[in-house]
Symmetry: C2
């Protein structure tokens, strides 16, 4: 075992001889750039050897290059060969893989600036005072005393049965020098593990998870530094039982052990996400010692194996609004079996933990002026915050913008078209594809671009119907339906024709109309005007580069000055991540859930009318979109 | 299902047609006398039928007898045949099987008078307000609101995963009329079960357990009324691995999986005790919803599977002083798997939960004048209480008075000789046998009687050695050792000769000497005199009728006026029982453990000298026993 210290962070980790230096750095939460994919070609992973020894990838000595003031090695070509001190140049450090598509000011500040403040679980190495003549207080009390001395912020301490069973032996075998794992519960802290100090001199990690109806996303966080070391996502395996929560609830009701099947399915997907995250930085399951989970009410229930039938029936009652801490073992998640799992709290059947997480991440509860959070997932949720007031509503947007139910739809993974521009003059379509790969499908931002572009070009009219007299080869009839070809097979490297049909457009329009009608109706109910909105956060898994202007152009959002609208990505995941590293966040998110008032939009008289008006591009009442609607070209 | 109401208690329970009335009454915690063992002969179980129908034991109508103001039936010969109201005459009610051999004033008061005050677990049937338009708060919050409305003393409420999984379905299937099970934790209450109200309209029970090194004792308590409905006891199966805690700890250290073997063994014995208690009153395992456990530190650790090695080594450190709530399932106990298990707190390696329980039961913490608790089990523990001061010590008494290590020894079960008197004039031995059966062995009180009687008669001298010149056939040589025959085979119905040997006497003397030396040394250390003792509680499983006078006569206790000494039986079990039915008791016992100061007697300079002096009958310093020592007869 070698001891590797990384500067300027001064993080020391234990590594085995022969381990790749790049992997060891990543394990410490210090991922390096790797533009060539570890081929030793790009030199972006160059680090300096300050002291110690390193080896080559195929054995022998490491290839070094003399640089000003020392020697440089490539982390992807160099292995551990004993203790060493390594300096990582700031320029070669991989950017934090933040779960926010765009960096959201204060979240990034909390995550990076404040760092870790009482994480959900933490390791602490301690020297315990051994018993002596006249000092025979209990083993566990000795540990508690040492913990309290080291951290006065610790609450009432308790210990679980496996720890109590282990500690008499571990304390004495380790000569009273131990490493403890502490879980920060709601009202008390728990000693959840005691090990010999030498066993676990390595960084520990937490995983923040957003269980979306369509997509499951996760961030792996170094709990020592607060840095995100890997992010990942996968289609929720439950999608085979229905695209939206309602159809999945019905499925569970119509099938024996339906809830259990649904639970197993999402746990399987989660375990795949966990395994990918682990592999990305060579972690053992036991290295992940805490989990936080956000998601809508139904997804949360399915993960826990709780029946959700009442959510789909009037008045849409959820089984629970808050949830106790669980353990990963209890939920079947393949990390350290005693890792605490915090499920963020829910407000109502249709305003779930994804939204309380979003309010936490965007700081809506602290807003003085009118701030709105719009989260477009499989459902659309809207939260209005002003002077401590928090009012929320939900509308059934459907998963169209997540690429579900659309033939060429996909989620924002490499190969997804995330940007589209159509030039009617040249009849050319310009595509931006995630990862600069061959286009395989279209994700959320791509669809917003398509709608905006086709409307601007006149390919679709205000009613969102293809204009049959628009002349282009790209507009064609297939199976009695018009479709617009974004890329013919071969074009931009596409393996097949990628097209969007009239039905697809209607699907997308229903989705954007639901969102806009939701915002309008909720504001109207509160006697507020869209113009009063100081800031509108648009959250959702649209893709990494949403053009806010275009979301306004298609009438998904009210016609606000662009600088007031910010696309903030997956705030559900961001909120979960905050809860992983900060007790204050965990307390705040509970206060947020308790403070939020839920308004049932479907019973509001104006909602249906607003929805019908919003089915147009951008709206039937064009005067509400002055920046968008020019004089009709025809 | 029939509904049977018992008067004057006004307890209503559900019973199946054909069930024996005596069994149904016992289930309600209203056991009836049964001198003839249910043969219909003694008529001690006669009850009055106030209204309704009853059936005969073999079908048909019940045999009734007209009495003043109604009809009488025998509960042991009568079965349920529909709803009925039954009046139980006070005279026919079985005495509460209190775990205290003698009724200890204030414990009995607390148990009977105060009744049940926030038991460790309780059932509560509730009508829940169903959700409605505009009222969609979460299912679990509805239950919590109803619980808080019904009982404002409830603390912060939480729910566990199995309950969260069950409740959406149960609430709706039961039409919002449910029966909840609430566990009263240390700082919060937990909703541990939700069932349809009709499922569990029957009394629920708790079991208080004393895990002794030699004997395990238990009381089954009706948690609705606080009444003890059955008591039981069994030899601790671990006895095969050693008579005392030290030899058992060594055994666990010398055998692979020793701790686990020890754990399994005691759990097996406990499950036998549980099954006997259940059968006594026809309970299903799920009817027992809470457990409290007291016992010495080592027994507690073995039950939990915690290694106890450090307890036997200087400075005798225990693994834990307090313990969290466990569940019965977690510990492998065959009652309701989610029943909470409270382990009473420990003070040190040799002053365990049995002693904190004893201090609780005897009210020592509230004593104004000097009060002493002496608990003689396999070890002897002494607690001194005065004006809030609590000081304790332990001495290695050995299990002789529990009948272990003595050839004719047995625990206080039917067949045990509990009283002995020897008349040297007639050479006759008078025996009192528990259950008026044939004598099979001798229990603690019997041994105290034997020592006192033989000393008084001059059969043994002050040095506790048989006087060889004492003339009686009962004194004989066997295997080079003198022994005194209490009963020859055939005498008093004995199946074999029952005798006490010189080694047995030495064993008992060592035991009584350790207890007396412990008391003397501790008082001396605190600069207190035995005469200052206002009250001395002698606790232990000696048998049901300890003669305090004789315990003084043999010099086990200091020579106090008899009225100041009280034999209080198994206070460990009594304390555990208090914790089962009262939150105040649970809080108090923790405060007691925290307040107690432990004195290590073995390092006290005077202890060894005191021990040697106490090896005599009653003591070398006869002036300390003025009421006992007369002029020597020789």
């Amino acid at each position: 075992m070698a001891s590797i210290t990384f500067r300027p962070d001064n993080l020391t980790v234990t590594a085995n001889d022969g381990e790749l230096l790049a992997v060891v750095a990543a394990r410490a939460g210090l991922a390096l750039r790797s533009d060539c994919g570890g081929q030793g070609a790009c030199r972006k992973c160059a680090v300096r050897l300050a002291s110690g020894e390193l080896g080559g990838k195929e054995g022998g000595a490491a290839e070094t290059r003399a640089v000003e003031g020392g020697v440089e090695v490539l982390a992807c070509q160099t292995t551990i060969a004993g203790d060493a001190v390594i300096t990582i140049p700031e320029a070669n450090r991989a950017a934090d893989l933040t779960p926010l598509a765009k960096t959201l000011g204060h979240v990034a500040e909390t995550l990076a600036g404040q760092g870790v403040r009482e994480p959900l679980a933490a390791r602490r190495c301690l020297a315990i005072k051994p018993p002596a003549k006249g000092d025979s207080i209990a083993d566990v009390d000795r540990i508690f005393d040492a913990l309290r001395a080291a951290d006065p912020r610790l609450r009432q301490l308790s210990a679980d049965l496996p720890t109590l069973r282990a500690l008499p032996t571990v304390l004495r075998q380790s000569d009273w020098s131990i490493c403890t794992t502490i879980v920060d519960g709601l009202s008390a802290s728990q000693l959840a593990n005691v090990a010999s100090a030498c066993d676990i001199d390595r960084p520990v990690f937490g995983l923040a998870i957003d269980v979306g109806t369509s997509t499951i996303a996760a961030s792996l966080v170094n709990l020592g530094t607060g840095r995100t070391v890997a992010t990942g996502g996968k289609r929720n395996g439950q999608i085979r039982y229905g695209d939206d929560v309602i159809s999945r609830i019905i499925w569970t009701e119509e099938h024996e052990n339906g809830v259990e099947t649904m639970r197993r399915t999402v746990v399987e997907t989660l375990n795949e996400v966990i395994e990918e995250a682990r592999r990305a930085v060579s972690l053992a399951p036991d290295d992940i010692i805490a989990l936080t989970v956000a998601g809508n009410s139904t997804m949360m229930n399915f993960l826990l194996g709780i029946p959700s039938g009442p959510i789909r029936r009037d008045p849409h009652t959820p089984p629970a609004s808050w949830l106790p801490l669980f353990t990963a073992g209890e939920l079947g998640l393949n990390v350290w079996s005693r890792a605490p799992v915090m499920c963020l709290p829910t407000v109502s059947g249709f305003v779930g933990a994804d939204i309380t997480a979003g309010v936490l991440a965007t700081g809506l509860a602290e807003a003085r002026e009118l701030v709105v959070l719009v989260d477009v997932g499989t459902n659309g949720e809207i939260v209005v915050g002003m002077d401590g007031m928090l009012v929320c509503a939900s509308c059934s947007a459907g998963p169209a913008f997540e690429g579900v139910g659309i033939e060429c739809g996909m989620h924002g993974a490499p190969g997804a078209i995330e940007g589209v521009a159509y030039d009617p003059a040249t009849d050319e379509v310009t595509l931006e594809v995630i990862g600069h790969q061959r286009p395989q499908g279209v994700c959320g931002t791509g669809f917003i671009d398509i709608l905006a572009s086709l409307f601007e070009a006149g390919v679709v009219d205000r009613g969102a119907r293809f204009s049959e007299d628009f002349e282009t080869e790209r507009l064609r009839l297939r199976e009695h339906e018009l479709e617009f070809v974004l890329a013919f097979a071969g074009e931009h490297g596409a393996a097949r024709d990628l097209a969007i049909s009239q039905s697809d457009i209607e699907n997308l329009i229903r989705s954007k109309a639901a969102v806009h009608a939701g915002i309008s109706t909720l504001l109207c109910k509160l006697h507020l005007e869209p113009e009063m909105i100081r800031r509108l956060y648009l959250a959702g898994a649209f893709g990494s580069h949403l053009d806010v202007r275009k979301a306004v152009q298609i009438g998904m959002l009210p016609d606000l000055p662009v600088e007031r609208v910010e696309y903030v990505g997956n705030t559900s995941l961001a909120g979960a991540q905050l809860c992983l590293v900060s007790r204050e966040a965990r307390e705040k998110v509970r206060a947020i859930a308790a403070a939020m008032t839920y308004i049932e939009l479907s019973v509001e008289p104006g909602f249906m009318e607003e929805y019908v008006g919003s089915m147009f591009l951008p709206h039937t009442q064009t005067e509400r979109f002055p920046s968008v609607v020019r004089t009709p070209t025809v």
